[in-house]
Symmetry: C2
Subunit: 361 residues, 2 copies
DNA sequence: GCCTATGGTGAATGCGCTTTCATCCGTCGG
DNA sequence: CCGACGGATGAAAGCGCATTCACCATAGGC
């Protein structure tokens, strides 16, 4: 690897100008076949690989879309899993959320001729994410509040940005940042699920487990739950019955214990704001000899693969995460094709209640 | 979006030179705090986002690593899944192979300060992949034979490339392309698993199901199987007992049926070259009222999450896919840090037999 | 009080490519 | 036989940044 060959080298070797070399790659038909072959041969001999940077710089576009997502990784769980001790259910399942989005975006991006640049937010350097992603892509998606609002504000003035889940309009109330936005019908889904438990299964004593973080998604889910309860004349508190720190299996197991150990009769149904926690609860219940759904009903939210693998299979609300990734790309592509100054769009994807064994269906 | 601001605009607005603006981003400490603030303020006002392209061009590196993987997508399965009809087990599980690698690479890349550019191979334009990925990254990994050997040959002369799984040295025999290479101990794993069935469970009539494609991985697994059989004095054919086209659940189910319907006593154990097929076989067996493992033993290979969710849980060989992704990044990073002209490395990652219910453990 | 460090800054160059615009040559109509 | 015309190619001007190198001021050192 002395010095990597450039258009100049290829041009010289094939006896043409750099403009022609460029044409061979960008618009082969505009070059005489014979000339083209000469150039390609020279390129092959030299091991010429066009510089994406130079190309992007000169043409003012990269052909790459980006995705920023939060740093879910738990270093401890990670190393433990790597060590090969036991199966790593939590980790595998937990990742699927962002994985599905990646998958969806990748596929849609490919259809439109884009590649996908992914980066998890690093809490390190100040402008790390901006530099790493925003500067290298034509547009990108951000998972919830991965990127500081202020940065988003600056970037979104120059590049299409679509926010996935999370708040509709981040930023101060007086100066909101308006972005394209895609979310799922969290409230609708949970409302329907709760309604199902109440009306179809005749359950009345429901307990809801949400998260402590300020998550618009979880709030919306709880709101749906509340609405369904109110509609059925069931009293509900203003806040979830239990709030956990992280929405993991371990926390779900703990929350279940808390609810069962509470005063009075235990709830007939434990509703969790995600599947992870619900699965954790299943373990707790099994450990205590309580049968699901005969003794207690358990439900989740998300529809991760794990939810249908556990016994009993989990009744949950399926989120179309892959579709969300795809829609994000579609939106970005639309923006890049001349819709720059249209008003921000907000898309709400429908969810579906998946009735499985854990609610008695 | 009139014209996007550049260093020049920021420089002018803050009354400094472009060199200083550049310093503010690349090496903040080398600029007086007061000057720095001025610059950052101007940048904020203008909505300045440094151009990754220009940066990469000037500094001759991108800070991005790449991954090319095959286009697994099955459009039909896809749309069906999106339509929401039923759960989509096959799809979810099938993707995990590359997802795990992505995850591993992403994480390792992040640790080293790189972002990850992913692209599935498109059979379209000639130099698509090269242009899209190779030109934009500092180095990249290729999953098996995703990229035409000839392209790889050219690219690898200029960029670190590591091949994941697949052949050790692609290319013509007389002119092999030597790349860094990471694989798993396919033969070891299968040998150990087969040995386990023979010695620990006393099974003798084993049937192996592989794939028809020319896959070095599957070949290696079958070789391990063969060795274990020979070592135990059991006769085996030169080829798998059944070869399927794609290694899917459906094909696995079909293969199981074929084996059970064969002449004479049916095999005591069905060994599959991956988990997908084994899971499919489980369905077939259940449908016929055969108990696993009492009537038939079933094993897989890969250790995908699905393998432990099914009933009975599948005995299999776990591949450290995530680790493979991580090692790929480590290798690339090492190359990028001055090991350019070292001999190609080949790394074989250990696998582990996971004994679960489907073999009687 | 002169000379040398030292830290902060600006001028200028080049990274490798795309993209007009101009040029050249051969061809065709008159 | 001449000018117009069209296709293939070359010349040259950036694209936005990093990076010497030179420069200037100030701070010490003698």
């Amino acid at each position: 690897m002395t010095t990597t060959p450039t258009v100049y080298d290829v041009a010289e070797r094939s006896g043409v100008s750099i403009a022609t070399v460029s044409r061979v790659y960008r618009n082969p038909d505009s070059v005489r076949a014979q000339t083209r072959e000469k150039v390609l041969a020279a390129a092959r001999e030299l091991g010429y690989v066009p510089s994406g940077n130079a190309r992007g710089l000169a043409s003012r576009s990269t052909g790459v879309l980006g995705l920023c997502f939060p740093d879910y990784s738990d270093p401890d769980a990670e190393s433990e899993a790597e060590a090969g001790v036991g199966d790593e259910p939590d980790d595998n399942a937990a990742m699927l959320y962002s994985d599905q989005i990646i998958r969806g975006m990748e596929r849609a991006a490919r259809r439109h001729g884009y590649a996908l640049l992914i980066a998890a937010s690093l809490k390190s350097g100040p402008e790390t994410l901006v530099a790493k992603v925003a500067g290298r892509v034509d547009g990108f998606a951000v998972l919830a509040r991965t990127v500081p609002t202020e940065e988003l504000e600056v970037i979104s003035r120059r590049r299409p940005v679509v926010m996935l889940a999370g708040p509709r309009e981040p930023g101060e109330l007086d100066r909101p940042v308006r972005l394209d936005h895609i979310q799922v019908a969290n409230a609708d889904g949970q409302r329907e699920l709760t309604r199902h438990l109440i009306e179809d299964h005749g359950l009345r004593r429901l307990a809801y487990v949400g998260s402590a973080e300020d998550s618009p998604d979880v709030e919306a889910r709880f709101r749906g739950h509340t609405e369904a309860c109110r509609a059925a004349g069931i009293a509900v508190a203003d806040a979830p019955d239990v709030r956990v720190g992280m929405m993991t299996q371990a926390e779900g197991a703990r929350a279940a214990a808390t609810l069962l150990d509470g005063p009075g009769e235990h709830p007939e149904a434990l509703l969790f704001a995600n599947d992870q926690m619900a699965v954790g609860a299943l373990h707790t219940l099994e450990g205590r000899g309580l049968r699901v759904p005969q003794d207690v009903t358990v439900t989740g939210f998300d529809g991760i693969p794990l939810s249908r693998m556990v016994r009993p299979a989990l009744t949950t609300v399926r989120q179309p995460m892959r579709r969300m990734g795809e829609e994000a790309v579609e939106l970005l592509v639309r923006r890049l094709n001349g819709q720059e100054n249209k008003e921000p769009e907000s898309l709400t994807l429908p969810v579906s209640v998946v009735r499985r064994a854990s609610c008695g269906c």
